[in-house]
Symmetry: C2
Subunit: 376 residues, 2 copies
């Protein structure tokens, strides 16, 4: 039995993680569940999985459940519990950073779906994992595919990582129409069902920029070895080219339970008939197209911030988080997301080799700066 904590347990990743736990009840003991927006869903999960520890963002009052034995604690305390072996970080945005660092410092394996953690503080998070001799397992389908392709391979043999991008719902939309797209349209992803933030990030391709930054840190690759290609079917989740010209890819239907389960079962693989199977004939075609960065300013901005390093990626992530929220609340148009993020990056005074405090300060500054912008 592996002691498991799920952060963001009522979100898309959290619910699918608990689906895996339901399928393999003898393999896991749920030690803690943490959520931030759906109190009733968390209550039901606590009733069902009976964790020792619970957390609900902004509340110190435990949620009432029939079994009164569980305690409400902070996420940092939850992840450090001695019975915890693996922490699924399924939160969104900045909120996952502190508990991720706490989990690594307590020597826990971190299954990381909350990619903003690596975008904001990639060097620090990777260094902490190394220092504490523990591991970050990527849950996001693209870096998870890269990680699978690297299984049994040597890092020095990697010549290139090819990250695939569905292109989102606006791949064929004329650039002049993009400002007018509705929230509904942006939330209608062609291949993946995900949370709202990541779905909008997928429509802007900010998400793909984040993944490039994530791959840079998690696989210790220079940016020149990371390539992005548009692949509308989302069946090839990413590829790795080795120096002898061989390329491995992970090819299967888009379903997050596969990478979630792989992170939880690693180094084993467990039979799970719930996970859909590849049928190449019914897929018919796998398509690859170039990514035109001029159509996706968020992608460009993300790459520049990633390459600039320092506190720039923290500003990128924070400004994007605020701008996406403004878009979802209909305060700004779709193209304003990139404009607001770029404005924050342009106005930022970066810190090189930032401490956690520097990163959090840059994050706070970028949030305030972005929230106060009036889109033109």
């Amino acid at each position: 039995m592996r002691g498991l904590v799920v952060l963001g347990s009522t979100g898309s990743i959290g619910r699918q993680t608990l689906d895996i736990v339901r399928r393999f009840p003898d393999r896991f003991r749920v030690i803690g569940l943490a959520a931030g927006s759906n109190r009733e869903a968390l209550r039901q999960q606590i009733e069902e999985f009976k964790p020792e520890l619970g957390f609900f963002l902004g509340s110190e009052q435990p949620i009432a459940v029939s079994d009164k034995t569980y305690r409400f604690v902070s996420m940092e305390e939850m992840v450090a519990h001695p019975a915890v072996e693996i922490v699924m970080v399924g939160t969104v945005g900045r909120v996952g950073l502190a508990p991720t660092l706490a989990a690594l410092r307590a020597g826990k394996t971190v299954a990381l779906a909350n990619k903003e953690v690596v975008v904001m503080a990639g060097e620090m998070v990777v260094a902490e994992a190394q220092r504490c001799r523990t591991t970050i397992l990527p849950v996001d389908s693209e870096p998870n595919a890269v990680w699978q392709c690297l299984r049994g391979e040597n890092d020095e043999d990697i010549s290139r990582v090819i990250v695939t991008a569905s292109g989102g719902p606006f791949r064929h939309r004329a650039p002049e129409e993009l400002q007018q797209v509705t929230q509904q349209e942006a939330l209608n992803h062609p291949t993946w069902r995900m949370g709202k933030k990541i779905t909008v990030d997928s429509a802007t391709l900010m998400n793909k920029g984040f993944e490039v930054i994530e791959a840079h840190h998690l696989f210790n690759l220079p940016y020149r070895k990371i390539e992005v290609v548009i692949h509308p079917e989302s069946m090839v989740h990413s590829m790795v080219e080795f120096r002898d010209g061989s390329v491995k890819g992970v090819i299967c239907p888009p379903d997050m339970r596969m990478p979630i389960q792989y992170a939880l079962s690693y180094p084993h693989r467990w039979a799970n008939p719930d996970i859909p199977r590849l049928d190449p004939v019914s897929v018919g075609h796998l398509t690859f197209e170039p990514l035109d960065p001029s159509r996706f300013p968020c992608y460009q901005v993300a790459l520049e911030a990633g390459k600039a390093g320092g506190t720039y990626p923290a500003v990128l992530s924070a400004a994007d988080e605020v701008a996406v929220e403004m878009f979802l609340f209909r305060q700004i148009g779709f193209l304003d997301i990139a404009k607001l993020v770029k404005a924050a990056l342009d106005a930022h005074h970066p810190v090189r080799q930032p401490s956690l405090e520097d990163i959090l300060a840059a994050d706070a500054w970028a949030r305030e700066f972005t929230a106060n912008q009036v889109p033109t």
Copy 2:
């Protein structure tokens, strides 16, 4: 420096193997070269690579070269030379069987491109490799891809192997036109440049049946776990599905130098700019279609023989070798290949759990039987 023997050195696999040796001259010492049809090409290779040992089929007289120090020996003696570490079996048809067994018995690593060896005597060859604690490395692009996908994985996690087939030049040809196709058309493979025998086998899809039998033996898989799908671009060389639904594939341009080099460099990978790189965007589409066995009787016949086991696969391989030769000499039509092979299988009295003698007897019987058939 790895001591290397190349059997079939003047053929397609042999020449490409020596290309790899030329690219990495410090890594190999060529101990022996054996060929069977091109005396002048072998002479040039002996001049260039200065092996200690040479062999030319049907000749005990050494080919004259300026350096007189090399000796002419049998292939069995060549592969057992103490300085040999790895033997590339790049021969075609039956001729590779005895030297493969000799190499395994001498504890040498066998890089096997001559798939008929495994078709004829799969159980025996695999058992010999195990008994002699050595390894058979598949060079053929499809099993090589499967082998690469299994790197770092556990055999018990394999749920399915998906072998891809280009479909050959007659994928869209009406069945009633197939009898009239010319030797030229059959030798014009859409994606691969190979020797004549394997090119005709690819047009009939006998080759794909052989590969299924090969995968069954080399990866110890029941036939129900091996699937074939038509993939005209020959970029996805095969895929492996694991029990958690994840599928890995090897995806790169069709060029035999990649799998040849992988077998020679394993477990390392060497940078080789001669090998073409995958450009997913220029590929554009990867297509998958069902294989219609009714269009490819050789494929059906091969699968039946493989599943029947015993001496049937030896008869399959021998009858096909003769029938393809008859087709190439314009003695029979294209569809007669399947008919002759089927006739031999139907007339054969099989031996269960055959010895090498049984296999060679079945092979000899099938050759004579097939050569004496008059196509209807």
